[in-house]
């Protein structure tokens, strides 16, 4: 068993979920609008998990994202009047109420134009090696939505919409896609692929070229980056799209169909090691 697989078998466990922003979502398994919940909490995930949890949960409550009626309200004629008062004054780190509203407008766009965020991604996915081009295309659409919106964007709106097309590592979007695309193994959610077996999913999806775990790219956080440097997969701690692809390509040597399955374990191992030393 490779060193990497040892880490995987040791740390890819539910007991470590509490350390991860993913832990926030665990309570919403099986609840409606889980994709939107993933996007929202993934994009809020700056810094300490506890603070992210508080902010995310408060936001979910405010907009009623976990209620069945959420999209009925969002997709109607002029939802801004209805929604904006609910989030007015919201602040989390760099984000303001305007940023949140713009994100809701993007959800609305995906649903009106494509039926769902998943369908929106799949519309642009043409069976490429990675999810990168599709992500760039969706982000480009979202930036178009932001441009047309009556609400002004803030300087920080751009940080919701990092894009591979600009060379960005897109850590948070890749993390979100991993949660959604990887099968439900108690850690990730398997929301976009209902079958709980990676090989089967890949076989099915090769035919209709849906996004599968094989297409995912590794989100580069400090632990993953440091690990990749220590393994000689990349030469510097630089975080950008090329580096993310390099790391993913190295991980494919261990599991070509599911390279990002190691993400959770590498992060946990890195975190615990740092804490152990501190």
């Amino acid at each position: 068993m490779s060193f990497l697989d040892q880490i995987y078998s040791t740390y890819h466990k539910r007991e470590y979920l509490g350390l991860d922003p993913l832990g926030i979502l665990d309570q919403y398994r099986g609840k409606p609008h889980l994709t939107e919940l993933c996007v929202l909490s993934g994009l809020m995930a700056f810094g300490r998990v506890e603070r992210v949890r508080v902010a995310t949960e408060s936001l979910i409550d405010r907009v009623g994202l976990n209620s069945e009626e959420f999209f009925d309200e969002l997709l109607q004629g002029s939802p801004e009047k209805n929604f904006f008062p609910k989030i007015k004054g919201f602040v989390h780190r760099i984000y303001r109420d305007h940023d949140i509203w713009l994100l809701l407008e993007c959800f609305r766009y995906s649903h009106l134009e494509h039926g769902s965020i998943k369908a929106h991604f799949e519309f642009y996915f043409k069976g490429e090696d990675t999810v990168g081009p599709a992500l760039s295309a969706v982000i480009a659409d979202y930036l178009g939505v932001v441009k047309k919106s009556r609400r002004k964007s803030t300087p920080m709106t751009a940080h919701l919409f990092n894009s591979p097309a600009l060379g960005g590592a897109c850590k948070r979007w890749l993390m979100i896609l991993k949660w959604l695309v990887r099968p439900d193994d108690g850690i990730d959610l398997g929301l976009w692929n209902a079958v709980n077996e990676v090989n089967k999913i890949n076989e099915i999806n090769k035919m209709n070229s849906r996004i599968t775990p094989a297409h995912l790219v590794m989100p580069l956080d400090v632990h993953v980056t440091r690990f990749a440097v220590s393994q000689g997969w990349i030469k510097s701690m630089s975080v950008n799209w090329k580096q993310a692809v390099r790391v993913t390509e190295s991980l494919r040597r261990f599991d070509p169909l599911d390279p990002t399955k190691y993400d959770f374990a590498i992060c946990r191992a890195g975190m615990l090691k740092v804490r152990g030393q501190g």
Binding site: F46, G47, R48, R93, I94, P155, M156, A158, H159, N162, L166, G167, G168, A169, C170, K171, R172, L220, D221, V222, T225, R226, S236, M237, S238, V239, N240
Partner: protein
């Protein structure tokens, strides 16, 4: 009509002379006055002429002589040997001229008459030398082996103009110097007879060169006028250089000593004479070709003439355009030699490319070890976008935990240091990080991020391999300057102030001895530059980082060391067009004048007269 029939065809004479195998046939039997020569006769050319070699006079000879030193000239035999060499040259000239008459019978009659007249002079010279060396040492022409030096360069001529450029303007022009120089040697050795022979040869040679000057100009003008000519040369000098292909070059139109006056008497322009005076070029051995490669075409173009400061006369420097004469003269005044400027190096040139070593650095695994073994601490630079920075607090904080606890963020689009931001570890708190990024690092697609040192000064140490002593020479540190973007901009041309080093603490031990050991072990003989710097650490203590970078190639620091010979105590500076603007001048010539008007020393390290330069280099006080 009667007399007409008694005339001999110039082509018949040429053929007889060319194929003669006795001194009498070469010089005497076929030496006819003009009145007996028919220049309008139909050519009687044997074919194929191209493969024909002239008749040999030295077929009995087994011994070849070395050219004597002038110190031995007290000895008559030594002087006779020198004359034997001169006679050899006359013989080659005779054969070449006969060949030209045979090869270009359709050339203007006046040209043919001129060549024939010259040929008769050369016959006269050969006879005089032959007679004198017989008197001095009993030698006959043919007693010793002769060389075919001119002939080898002349048999490929394609036109009468090729002939005048190679024969008259190279070999005969050089002979102006040799004749004048050796007349003097003969005189000081007390040999007035030999001296007067050389004096008269010099006088004839002046007229031979004049013949060349006139006919080059005649053929050049005709080429310029003909519309079919696609390769138009700009002037007679360029035309001359084009007509004397490798391994010939303008340097060969000069002897050991240079005499200007006979050249002016021969009708060469002052400009042409100046160019010959300073021209570089190999006189036999395969030249070393220099070519600056800086990775940026625009900078390269402007700094391509830098090798003028170290290349030898026998070297070539590959350039896009030749530097102007005034600048060349100023360099020559200091160095007393210049390399040959070429657009295409000769086929046998050995390369001393600026980037040779850089390539091997990438490919040679040995270089990896020098870093791997921790001899060099290379600054780690990250490349990241503003948005990724927002997500990467831990990565940034980790990098900041260095000896100064500071990072510098270099913007991709910043101009000369503007857009550079220094952040210290104290600024880096996770809670405030996104806000800090938002405020300080917004609107940038890419940032280069490095540990920042409060540098007091940068210094470089050059290492050169001395093949004679089989040792490395390590030069003392020289202080150098960088701009706001940490790009090299200049060097102090003197040893770095000892006090600066004494008053600082070594961050870690100087790895120099181990680097030298490594270099020797791997037989590395190209120049090496070690960069280091002195900085203030987080407690305000001065520290020395001995080696922050190792350059396994020619560097600007190495150039500066070469310049130090000529401008000790001054500074070598690179100026960009933006620097000029800042100083309120428009051109590099104006900069030079401005510095001089400030009563500061200023020497143009690169040509200042060329317009449209983006970069220039000067040495200034």
């Amino acid at each position: 009509m009667e007399t007409e029939h008694n005339k001999t065809s110039v082509f018949e004479i040429a053929l007889k002379v060319f194929s003669a195998t006795t001194l009498d046939d070469k010089c005497h039997a076929w030496n006819f006055p003009f009145s007996d020569v028919d220049f309008d006769a139909p050519p009687s050319v044997p074919s194929p002429l191209g493969s024909m070699d002239p008749g040999k006079l030295d077929f009995r000879a087994t011994e070849s002589l070395p050219f004597p030193s002038t110190k031995e000239f007290k000895d008559a035999r030594a002087r006779a040997i020198a004359l034997y060499f001169f006679a050899n040259h006359e013989l080659l000239a005779i054969d070449s001229m006969a060949y030209v008459l045979l090869k270009f019978p359709q050339a203007p009659v006046d040209f043919l008459r001129g060549v024939y007249g010259t040929l008769r002079d050369e016959q006269k010279h050969l006879m005089k030398y032959a007679q004198r060396m017989k008197e001095l040492a009993g030698f006959d022409v043919g007693d010793f082996k002769m060389n075919s030096y001119f002939w080898q360069h002349l048999k490929s001529i394609q036109s009468p103009k090729d002939y005048v450029c190679r024969m008259s303007l190279v070999f005969e022009q050089a002979n102006l110097d040799f004749a004048a120089e050796y007349a003097e040697h003969m005189r000081t050795s007390g040999d007035a007879v030999s001296a007067s022979i050389l004096d008269s040869v010099l006088q004839d040679e002046i007229s031979h060169v004049r013949h060349g000057v006139q006919w080059q100009s005649y053929f050049f003008d005709r080429e310029q006028a003909s519309e079919s000519s696609s390769q138009v040369s700009l002037n007679l000098w360029e035309d001359f250089v084009k007509s004397i292909p490798f391994p010939l070059n303008a340097r060969r139109a000069r002897g050991n000593k240079f005499f200007g006056e006979p050249r002016l008497q021969a009708g060469l322009s002052r400009d042409f004479v100046d160019r010959i005076r300073i021209a570089g070029g190999s006189r036999g051995r395969a030249p070393l070709a220099w070519h600056i490669n800086l990775g940026d075409e625009r900078i390269e173009r402007d700094l391509e003439t830098l090798p003028a400061w170290w290349a030898l006369e026998s070297d070539q420097v590959v350039v896009r355009r030749c530097p102007d004469l005034e600048w060349q003269k100023s360099v020559f005044a200091l160095r007393e030699q210049l390399p040959e400027w070429v657009q295409n190096p000769g086929p046998t040139a050995k390369w001393a490319r600026w980037d040779d070593v850089k390539h091997s650095e990438k490919n040679d695994p040995r270089w990896g070890r020098i870093f791997f073994e921790g001899l060099i601490q290379k600054p780690k630079a990250l490349v990241m976008s503003t948005q990724d920075l927002m997500d990467s607090f831990s990565v940034i904080r980790e990098l900041a935990q260095g000896p100064t606890e500071k990072l510098i963020f270099k913007s991709n689009h910043g101009v000369s240091g503007r857009g550079h931001i220094v952040l210290s570890l104290a600024h880096l708190q996770e809670d405030h990080w996104p806000k800090l990024v938002q405020e300080k690092l917004k609107n940038q697609n890419q940032w280069g991020i490095e540990r920042y040192y409060d540098r007091i000064c940068d210094f470089s140490r050059q290492i050169e391999w001395n093949s004679q002593t089989q040792e490395y020479r390590v030069h003392d540190p020289r202080i150098f300057f960088v701009d706001g973007r940490f790009q090299y901009r200049g060097t102090e041309l003197r040893k770095g102030d000892r006090q600066i080093f004494v008053n600082a603490i070594e961050e870690s031990q100087d790895p120099l001895p181990r680097i030298l050991e490594f270099l020797k072990l791997n037989h590395i003989s190209h120049p090496i530059g070690l960069d280091g710097f002195i900085f203030l650490d987080e407690n305000g203590v001065r520290k020395i980082r001995w080696v922050s970078e190792i350059n396994l190639r020619f560097t600007m620091g190495w150039v500066a060391l070469k310049l130090e010979r000529y401008f000790p105590g001054n500074q070598f500076r690179l100026f960009s067009r933006a620097d000029l603007k800042q100083r309120g001048v428009g051109t590099f010539l104006e900069l030079e004048n401005q510095l001089k008007s400030e009563e500061r020393f200023c020497a143009a390290v690169t040509p200042t007269r060329t317009a449209q330069r983006l970069w220039g280099a000067v040495c200034t006080g």
